[in-house]
Each structure stands twice: as C-alpha cells, then as structure tokens.
C-alpha cells in the first residue's frame, strides 16, 4: 500500500508553508496506449485553479493545494477519464481521501468507497467525432424492406398469369369465385352497403353481384366491364 504523501516545503524568508500535493499517474491501456496518443493533458481540481501536467511517464502532481474538498478531473482532448472527489483533511498527519464521483450527482455525501492516494487513472473511452457516410451498395438497397415488397409485387405481377395458365381448371374456377366474392364485398364496402358485403362474405354460394352504383365505377374490375359490354 502506498502511503499518502504530503510535501512540506521549507522556503526562504523564514516562512513555513504547508501545502499538500495530490499525486497520481495515468496507466496506459488499450484505449490510450501512451503519451503520444494522450497529447497535452493535465489533471485539474475544480475549475482549474490547481493543476498538474501529465508527464511522459504518466505521472502527475498537483502542488500547493490547501485543505478542502475538490473535484478532480482530467482535462484532455480526446479521452474520457473518471472524475474523483478529493478531500484534503487538515489533520496531523494530513490525510488525502479520494472517492469516486459521477458528474451530475450531488457531491455530498461522498461515496463510501475510498480510493488509494496516489491515485491511478485509466482512460475509459476515446472520443469518436465522426459518423460514417451512408455508402451506396446494390445489395444494401435491395435489403430495404420497401424494395423487397416492391420486388415481390413485381414477381407476382409477372408470374401470376403463368401460374394461372398451369392451374387445374376446377381450382381456377374456385379461385375465381372466391375472388369475385371478395371483390363484391370490397365494392360493397366502398359504396357503404355493409350489410350486403357481410352477407356476401358469409354466404357460401357465389352471391349475385350487388348492383354497383354509378359512383363506384373505379372499384369495378375492368375485364368484367368488357365482358358486360359484349353481352
């Protein structure tokens, strides 16, 4: 266990000043493998009145910090580091306590987890500033559900006549009948004649076509109108 370190600086002019130094280091990991990737970075307390630069070996020292409570953060361009709550207690011997801190949460009460001092920090995430271009590929285009529906419809439109041709005449007749039933129900719905449409669907026999009203013209089947004409 590394003991706490407080530096006692004895300077000239016969004045004794007790200043605490918050120390720690950055551990290189896969996200941030070294000082080249990290770039110019520093570790700051609060808004930056007390700070220490991160050295090539990852070590940092924030000198001259008076007793108090601070939020420690790493000011860096490309990486995200954890923030910490630092309590420097003015006791003899002085104690530096470190707690994890999540931004946006109340600072008090401190987390019950106490981290060692000097502290080791690791990069949690590297910023990705860009979004990828939507590239055009034919495959991706046809994977689109809308495109798939279109394709299926196209295949159906082209394929159905051939299918009909090869079908058993009885089955064809049956299908015609059911189609006519649905068509009549549809046209009835369109004209607002719900009763007959429901009855048309319910009855087993191919019901007589309800007389289409003039307005319902577009709902009619074109081929059938041709047939009528001929009659």
């Amino acid at each position: 266990m590394v003991p706490w370190i407080a530096s006692l600086l004895l300077l000239g002019w016969l004045r004794i000043v007790i200043a605490f130094a918050v120390k720690g280091d950055i551990l290189w990991n896969d996200i941030c493998p070294g000082p080249e990737k990290l770039g110019r970075s520093k570790v700051v307390l609060d808004e930056g009145k007390y700070y220490g630069g991160i050295q090539q070996d990852g070590k940092f020292t924030i000198p001259g910090v008076p007793a108090g409570t601070y939020v420690l953060s790493v000011s860096t361009h490309d990486f995200i580091f954890d923030q910490l709550r630092v309590d420097i207690l003015n006791t003899t011997p002085p104690v530096i306590e470190m707690h994890p801190y999540i931004p946006g949460t109340p600072l008090n009460p401190p987390s019950s987890v106490i981290l060692p001092h000097p502290i080791s920090l690791v990069a949690r995430q590297k910023h990705n500033y860009f979004v990828a271009h939507e590239s055009f590929s034919l495959l991706a285009m046809f994977k689109n559900p809308m495109m798939m529906i279109m394709l299926v419809t196209a295949v159906m439109a082209i394929g159905t006549p051939y299918l009909m041709k090869n079908m058993d005449p009885e089955a064809l007749e049956e299908m015609r009948a059911s189609q006519a039933k649905i068509a009549s129900a549809q046209s009835a719905f369109a004209t607002g004649d719900f009763k007959s449409s429901i009855s048309a669907l319910m009855s087993d026999e191919p019901a007589a076509m309800p007389q289409p009203q003039p307005k319902a013209g577009p709902a009619q089947n074109k081929s059938r109108s041709n047939k009528n004409k001929r009659r």
């Binding site: 600086l9 300077l11 000239g12 002019w13 016969l14 004045r15 000043v17 200043a19 130094a21 000082p35 080249e36 770039g39 110019r40 609060d46 808004e47 930056g48 009145k49 700070y51 220490g52 630069g53 991160i54 050295q55 090539q56 940092f60 020292t61 000198p63 001259g64 409570t69 601070y70 939020v71 000011s75 860096t76 361009h77 490309d78 995200i80 931004p103 946006g104 949460t105 109340p106 600072l107 008090n108 910023h127 990705n128 500033y129 860009f130 979004v131 990828a132 271009h133 939507e134 055009f136 034919l138 285009m141 196209a154 439109a157 082209i158 006549p161 081929s223 041709n226 047939k227």
Partner: protein, 1001 residues
C-alpha cells in the same frame, strides 16, 4: 413498441444528423495552429536554432512567445513541431536548452520547472520549485532565474527567485538546496554555472549609482557554500552589461564598466581580481548564444563591433565587424553552430531605403576566419522592421558556408531565409487578433456578351458565331453534369470561380473575407474557404512616424456590403499611442476584398494611412443603424462622425433624438453605468454632445465588468406556438443589453448579471451567481429573446449541490401569460408595458469550462440558433437549441409537449463528441467566436480566434435548402432504369394478354 419509442426519444436527444463525416475534414473547415509572437526582448526567451543528433541531425527553432507558449518550429517548412501552452499566471520566465532537453522556468520568480523532449515536446518533468505566492516579481521576468546542467549525468541546477539554488535529479528530487537568505544584502542572483566540482551563482546588488557584482561558490556535490564575495565593480546597465562566458571548466564573468570591458576568472576561492581589456571603449556587450563555447561580441562606441573568444583564461579579440552606414539600422547579431558544433556569428543590418537586409557571417574555424556576405530582400511595407534574428549554418564543403536566418519582425511575423531565398513566413500576430468581422464577397458576373451600342448585322453574326463555338463544349458539360455530376452540396468545398486577382464568392456564399486587425499594426483579409491570407496591410502611424508609436484597433465596422452595389468596405477605429505618450483616435477605411485604402482624400505612400478623427482617446464608438456612419465619442463626450459628410450629418441629426446608449463612466471614483443621449447646443459647441439621462443603481460593492449588447439579426418569428395552440410572444426589445458586474471585495463573492433597457435603464432581469475565487469567469450570449450564460459554481455544501460548470438559459416572453402581446419590438422606450415580461429559466451542468460563447446566425433567422461554445480543453462544440430550451419539463413529457418537440429535463448536458465542431483539431485559448450568415438560410459560418484560428460551417436545422448529401443519385438512377426495364418487359406481355382476352373471352 416501448423500445421503439425509447429509441425515437433517444434520437431526439442526440440528433446526429449534423455530425461530421471524416471526409469533411479540411473541406468545410480549416484550422491554423499558431504559437504567438516570439518574445525577442531577452535571449532567455527569444527564438533560437537547436540541432539534435549525431549523424543525422534534426533541428528546430525554439521560442517562448507573448501568448505564453513554448514552441518548437520545424525550420524546413515552418510547421509547429510541438507547443506547450502555459496557464495564465504561470508566465514563462526563461528556457534553457541542453542537448535534447529544454527546461523552462515559469511563474513568479520561476516557481515551476518543466523539462521537455526537444523533438516531440513530451513533458519529462514538472516540478514546483517554490510556492508562487512567495515568488519575487522581477522585471524583466527572466531576472533571478537560471538553469544549468550538471557536467555529468542528467542533473539540473536550478536558480529561482533570485537566490534559491537547487540541484535536482531527472525525477525532480532535490539533492541539495541553498538559499541566499540574506535580506540585508539585496543581492539578486541571476546566473548559475556548473563546473565538475563547483556551482557558481552570479548576482548583482544595487548601489546608489550602479550595480555591484556578487559571486557565490557552492560545492557541486553537497551544495555547501564555500565562498561568497562581492567583486569591486560598478555596472550601470545591470544585467544587460553582464554575461558569463565559459569553455569547458574555464568560466569567466564579463561586464562593462564605464565603457571598458572587464572580466574575472571564476575559481573556487575567487582569488583572482578583475582584468580590463585594453584598448577601445565599448557601449554594449551582446550575448549571441555562444557563451557556452566561449564567444561573445562587444559593440564599440563608433558602431563597429568585435568578436571575443575565451582563449585559455584570457579574452582575445578575433574579428571586427565594421560600423554600419547611416542608411542602415542598428545591426542585429546572432550566433549559430553547424553539425560539428563549430561556431558562427552573423551581423544583420537592415536598410529601409534599400528595402533589403545585409548579412555578414563570420566563420572562425576556417583558416584565419572567413567572412561570407549576402543580402536578402526584406519587405518593410508589409513586415515592418527586423527585431530579432537567429542563425543556423552548414559547412557542406571547405570554404563554403550556407546559412539560414530565422527572423522576427515588428509586425509579429516569423520568416526563414536560406541565404537570399525566402522559405516561409508565419504571421504570428494572428494569435493576438483584436477585432474580426466577416465580409461578403461579390459574385462574379460575366459581362463579356454585352453588345455594343450600334452593331451592324455582320458584326452581330460574327460575334454570335464566335460565341457559338463554345456551345459543343457547353452542351457536353451539361449532359455530363446531368448524368453523372455531383452538385454543390452544403458539405462540398467552397470553390469560387477563377479570377485574376479579385476574389469572388462561391455559389452558396461560404467564401467570404474575414477581416482581422491585430495590435501588431497589421490588418489581414483571410479567405474563409481555406484560411489563406488574401491580403494584408500595415497600419501607418501618420504624424507619429517621426517619433514612433503603436496602433491598437478597437472596433471594426462593415460600412458597405456587396448588396449596396459597390465593393465591400470596412472601417477600423483604432487608438494611436505615440512614443511621446500622446493618444489619438484614427480611422482606417479599406476595401475588404483587396485591402486598398478607400478613405476619401487619403493617399497611401507605403503603408495604410488613416484619417485622424479625435486628438485624444476614444471613449466609445457605434455604427448608426443604417450601417453607413460611424459615431465616435471623445473624452468630453463630443460626437465625431465618419465619414464626415453632409449626408452623414443629416442622417445623424435625424436619428439623434432616438439614440440611447449606455456608457461606463467614473463617478466619485466608482465605475457607473450611465445612459446617454446626444443633443446639440449651438451656443456651447458646434458638435453634438452626449448627456446623461439615467444611472443604473447597482450596489457599491459591485464593479462593472462586461457590457454585452444584443446582437441585431433578422427575426423570422415573433412568437412560439405551443402544443395547446396558444402562443408565447417573444420579448424583442432592440435596446436590451446584458451587464456583468464583479465583486470589489472577496465578500460577498458573487457576480451579478443584469438585462437592462438602454433608453431608461430599467432592469428587466437580474441574477447573481457565485464568483469562484473572487473572479467572475462568466461568459454570456444575448440574441433575440434568448440569453444564455456560463459560470462555475463552487458551492457544494447544500443538499443535492455539486461543484461544477453551469450553463444557464433564459428566455424572455411578453406579458405574464400565453397569448399576451405587447409588441415589444416596436414598443416605445417610455411605454409602461416595457417591463411586462415573463422569463423562463433553466440551469444545466456543463462538462467543461468555457472560454467563449456565441450563437449561430443565418440570413433570415428561420433556422434554429445553436449555441457555439469554446471549451477549456481546446474544443469548439455546438449545443442544439432544443437541449437548451428553458421550458423542458421536469416530468414525463405530455403529448402536447411532444408536439412542441420538448424533451424531458436532464440536468447534465451530455458530452457528445459528435457535436464537436473542431473534432481532432486543438483550438486553444479561444477568446471570441464570430458567426455570420451564408447565402444559404440553413448554414451559418463560424470563426473562432484566440491563440489559434478555426473556421467551420454549421447547419443547426440541417441543410433543408440544398440537396441532402445523403441524396443518392446512384440509387435514383438505378431505380428509374429498373422501372424502365420493367415497363419494357411487361408491355408486350400485357399487350399479348389483352389480345388473347379479346379473342378467347
């Protein structure tokens, strides 16, 4: 379903459509990495060449700069190898190079030691030497600081605070320390030298008429003081006339005493006595950077100079440079070394009359000394005078010396000259921009086919045939463009049509000129499409040319835009500070597209000449609402106009009764904010004079810090329709301004923020925020009815409180409730409805410290306004307006609120890297962000300046007015072709089927 809703709400919170693509880098934006203007006043901070390596060597130019940066620049291309930006309050005192390490001392008395790897700039060591509060503030700041390297190993001997000597190992552990704790002697030690056995600290003490030399001898191993003695001497110019010369373990102190050059050999017992160099009288000694190699230079009274060399333990004169003629300025001396370490000394003499500089390089190691001379052209009209030069030499073959010089000029430029070949120029004064503004460029109009007055049939035919010969080319281009071509999109480069000399805008108006003026007497026109300097001019001093002086630009106004028909023009209001302490107000009037002087009746000789307006300092200046006339106020609050024409006076006289403006004035020793109006009293003065109409009553404990007028931009909507079909009408008082006051004492430590009406001084809104450390580091932005500000909250003791950066957003609306309308934008200043205003306010936790704030601005104000923020970790972010909506509900969002696109209140503004406009660029110490509209309503141009320059363009509401960059022409072509093929295939089928139907049914 729920998942889907969650996903959609997340998409609302994090709109990523505006994020950058990697391919946009360098296309839509540019970044200029600067280091600042080199500090050339002392050799402890001035630029110097340094070469590292044995066989293959790399050299860099190291310098400390006025922007408090230690930088290394590659001499090959002038790019920044690395830079270290020091915090304010931790100013660089001196830097010291040794092999591949550079050590710097910074802060009061040299409180902090840092060492860097010279090639990559990695911070090797950061060590606090003493508490900054105990530091002695010397002037100049390098006084009392020095670093020497131990002759063996990598230990450093550091002298700081004028008398504190420490020996540190490479981990920063002190091996010993010595303090000259003798307050009565008042000796300031300024130099430290190491030999294998001893450490010498050399200092001066003040006597009534001059300075006396002191030497302390310490043991190199233990730091024990073995000898402390004063040398009988009288040095008048202090440290400037003192230097230490050494060669191996032979150390000499050299000084100038009443014109005679004296020296003393340092030995552990200090028994030798000072010796004088016989012969001529000298006026100064020059450290050319070769003192470690036993060479220096002394200038004689007649202007000639002698090179001295330490030979054994005596000084020997080895060369003499002749005096420069009358036509040349005082010579600049510089020393340099080649690969093998041989010393060279150059004398650079610059001549204004010849517009060139003459260089003489003395090479000592070739034969009995070789002199190489050449001249290089130096453009005084654009770079001022040479203030510093540093030399680097190569000796490719016997008797050939090729030298290169890095020079610093009075306009803050750094240049590299290889012999007489110009290599590169860095305009470092761009790191000190005082004022900046965007100016639109004209469109290129093709005027070639304007027919002549009378054209015969033959002539016309001939002309049209001539013109028609380009048609096939045009047709081909058209077809090609139609079928394959990509269209200019919001993310393509701003390419302007080719033009000989004159700049033109591109299709969307992304290419504009950023006119910037610097305190280094220079104004630049920067191309916003690529950051190139289109033109630059030097400010002329007017009558002060005789005595010398400086120009400080204060304001920059665009007085004529391209929409007015002619070329765009700007007016720069500047203060001229002559050397004889006289201050004048001068106006420079220039064409923004070419940099030419357009002030009526002013003719440029060499430099840009201005018009003297006020013979005295400027108190305040404004541009009148018609954007044509600049109004200036002198100390007696008299009104001066520029241009001073009859039309200007007439339009001003018409406007005068409705002009109201606040001024900061001293009343009983306190700074007060006083509202002013102008009036003409013909009996007293022929000028309009401002008189006070109101005084803002702020508490006596507060002092005015910042005054921010609302930015006047087009307003597209006057209200906000809410989800329940009611309307909140925006409070759009055009006279509104924001005011920040700072506490005078530490108690109460709070800053007050006011929104005030300038006609009556009515306070519309007031808040107070804590002043962290007694300093009000508050940044504000005020546009339309939206006021936003940043501060740091140091309080954490309360329940639920936490220290942190805060972003507050305030919106002002008319009346006390919805649907209440007072027509605030047209309301008279004296209406009682003026104070009928309601505010919405919300505070957010911001992840970073902020150095500047601004909002985007667009042509018609239809696009939403995003907040552009420059952070302390050197980034430019854009925060969507929706995130900063002060009406975000603190509960579940109702359907009505969802319709308004309101999102649930979250106190933390997330740190989303995709909103970083500056992405990988490090945009350091931004002081201001300027935004300007492009021709596209969707897009706003953003220019940030501070130490670096950064430009980009943003589309806060996405680019709704141009084809989306995601628009896939390929897909469209494939789909259309596919459909065509389908039709071709199915048509015969359908035909056949119909035919069959007719036959068989």
């Amino acid at each position: 379903m729920r998942l889907g809703r969650l996903a959609s709400s997340l998409a609302l919170v994090f709109p990523i459509a505006s994020a950058l693509h990697e391919s946009d880098v360098g296309v839509v934006d540019w970044h200029k990495k600067l280091v600042g203007v080199p500090l050339t006043s002392s050799s402890a901070t001035a630029p110097v060449f340094h070469r590292v390596g044995e066989e293959t060597t790399h050299s860099v130019i190291l310098t400390a700069t006025a922007s408090n940066v230690l930088a290394a620049i590659f001499p090959e291309n002038g790019t920044v190898a690395w830079r270290y930006i020091y915090e304010s309050g931790d100013n660089i005192a001196s830097f010291h190079i040794h092999k591949n390490v550079v050590a710097s001392l910074s802060g009061p008395g040299g409180a902090t030691l840092r060492t860097f790897d010279i090639l990559n700039g990695h911070l090797l060591l950061e060590q606090r030497i003493h508490e900054p509060s105990h530091g002695q503030l010397y002037e100049p700041s390098h006084l009392g600081t020095s670093v020497a390297y131990a002759t063996e190993g990598s230990d450093l001997v550091v002298l700081s605070n004028g008398g504190f000597v420490q020996r540190l190992d490479n981990l920063g552990t002190a091996k010993w320390s010595w303090n000259s704790s003798d307050p009565s002697a008042l000796v300031i030690f300024s130099k430290v030298v190491t030999t294998t056995t001893h450490v010498y600290a050399i200092g001066l003490s003040k006597t009534p008429s001059s300075y006396k030399l002191h030497v302390a001898v310490l043991s190199a191993g233990t730091g024990e003081l073995t000898q402390l003695s004063d040398i009988s001497s009288s040095i008048t110019a202090g440290l400037n006339d003192l230097m230490v010369v050494r060669r191996a373990d032979e150390v000499l102190v050299v000084w100038l005493e009443q014109g005679s050059l004296k020296y003393l050999t340092l030995s552990p017992n200090l028994q030798s006595s000072p010796t004088a160099v016989k012969g001529s009288a000298f006026k100064r000694i020059v450290d050319v950077g070769l003192s470690e190699y036993g060479q220096f230079l002394a200038v004689k009274d007649d202007g000639s100079s002698r090179i001295f060399k330490l030979d054994g333990s005596a000084l020997k004169s080895i060369w003499e440079f002749s005096a420069s003629g009358n036509r040349r300025a005082d010579p600049i001396f510089s020393g340099g070394r080649d690969k093998k370490g041989n010393p060279y000394i150059a004398q650079v003499r610059w001549s204004h009359a010849l517009n060139q500089a003459a260089v003489d390089v003395y090479t000592g190691h070739l034969g009995r000394g070789v002199m190489t001379a050449y001249t290089f052209p130096f453009d005084t009209q654009s770079h001022g005078i040479i203030t510093h030069a540093t030399l680097d030499c190569v000796n490719p073959s016997e008797m050939t010396v090729v030298s290169r010089l890095a020079i610093t000029t009075s306009t803050g430029a750094m240049q590299l000259w290889q012999q007489n070949q110009h290599q590169w120029t860095r305009e470092e004064s761009l790191s000190t921009i005082a004022v900046a503004e965007f100016v639109e460029l004209p469109e290129k109009v093709d005027i070639s086919h304007i027919p002549k007055e009378r054209e015969t049939f033959g002539q016309r035919l001939q002309r049209q045939v001539m013109e028609a010969q380009d048609f096939p080319q045009y047709a081909l281009k058209f077809v090609k463009r139609f079928a394959t071509g990509s269209y200019a999109s919001a993310s393509s480069a701003a390419v302007a049509p080719d033009s000989a000399g004159k700049p033109y805008r591109d299709a969307f108006g992304f290419r504009q000129v950023v006119v910037v003026a610097t305190p280094y007497s220079k104004v630049f026109g920067i191309d916003s499409s690529n950051g190139e300097i289109l033109w630059s001019r030097m400010f002329g001093l007017g009558w002060a040319t005789e005595v010398g002086g400086s120009i400080l630009p204060v304001k920059l106004y665009v007085t004529q835009t391209v929409h007015d028909g002619d070329s765009p023009q700007v007016v720069i209001v500047a203060q001229r500070r002559a050397e004889n302490t006289l201050i004048d107000t001068v106006v420079y009037h220039i064409d923004a597209s070419s940099g030419e002087n357009v002030a009526p009746g002013v003719v440029d000789k060499d430099v840009l000449e201005g018009v003297d307006i006020i013979s005295g300092p400027l108190v305040e200046s404004f541009i009148l609402p018609d954007h044509k006339v600049v109004l200036m106020l002198d100390e007696f609050l008299q009104v001066y106009l520029y241009p001073d024409t009859k039309e200007a006076t007439a339009s001003f006289t018409k406007l005068a009764p409705s002009l109201h403006f606040p001024l900061r004035v001293n009343v009983d020793g306190q700074r007060r904010l006083v509202g002013q109006q102008v009036s003409l009293n013909a009996e007293l003065s022929d000028r309009f004079v401002a008189h006070p109409t109101w005084t803002l009553s702020i508490p006596p404990s507060e002092d005015i810090q910042t005054l921010l007028p609302a930015s006047h931009e087009p307003i597209a909507s006057f209200g906000k329709v809410l989800g329940n079909r009611t309307t909140l009408y925006k409070y759009l008082n055009p006279r509104m301004f924001a005011l920040l006051t700072a506490p005078k004492a530490t108690q109460p430590a709070s800053c007050a923020i006011y929104l005030v009406d300038s006609a009556k001084g009515s306070v519309l809104h007031r808040t107070s925020v804590p002043a962290s450390g007694g300093v009000c580091d508050v940044h504000m932005s005020l546009v339309e009815n939206w006021f936003s500000y940043y501060y740091y909250d140091p309080e954490f003791t309360g329940v639920g409180q936490s220290k942190g950066h805060r972003m507050v957003t305030v919106e002002l609306y008319e009346g006390s409730q919805v649907d209440e309308k007072t027509k605030s934008s047209e309301l008279s200043a004296f209406s009682d409805k003026l104070l009928d205003v309601s505010t919405f306010e919300q505070a957010y936790i911001f992840p970073h410290g902020v150095t500047a704030l601004s909002t985007t601005s667009t042509k018609f104000g239809i696009s939403t306004k995003d907040l552009i923020v420059a952070t302390k970790n050197h980034k430019i972010l854009s925060i969507p307006r929706r995130v900063l909506n002060p009406r975000r509900p603190n509960r579940k969002v109702t359907a009505e609120e969802q319709e308004e696109q309101l999102i649930h209140y979250d106190p933390l503004i997330p740190d989303d890297p995709r909103r970083t406009l500056s992405h990988n660029y490090e945009v350091a110490n931004v002081r201001r962000i300027v935004t300007a509209p492009a021709l596209l309503e969707s897009t706003s141009l953003v220019f940030a300046y501070g130490l670096d320059l950064f430009f980009t363009r943003v589309a806060p509401s996405n680019t709704f007015d141009v084809l989306n960059e995601n628009f896939n022409k390929g897909q469209l072509v494939v789909t259309v072709t596919g459909l065509a093929v389908a039709i071709m295939v199915t048509r015969p089928m359908v035909k056949r089927k119909r035919l069959q139907e007719r036959w068989y049914q």
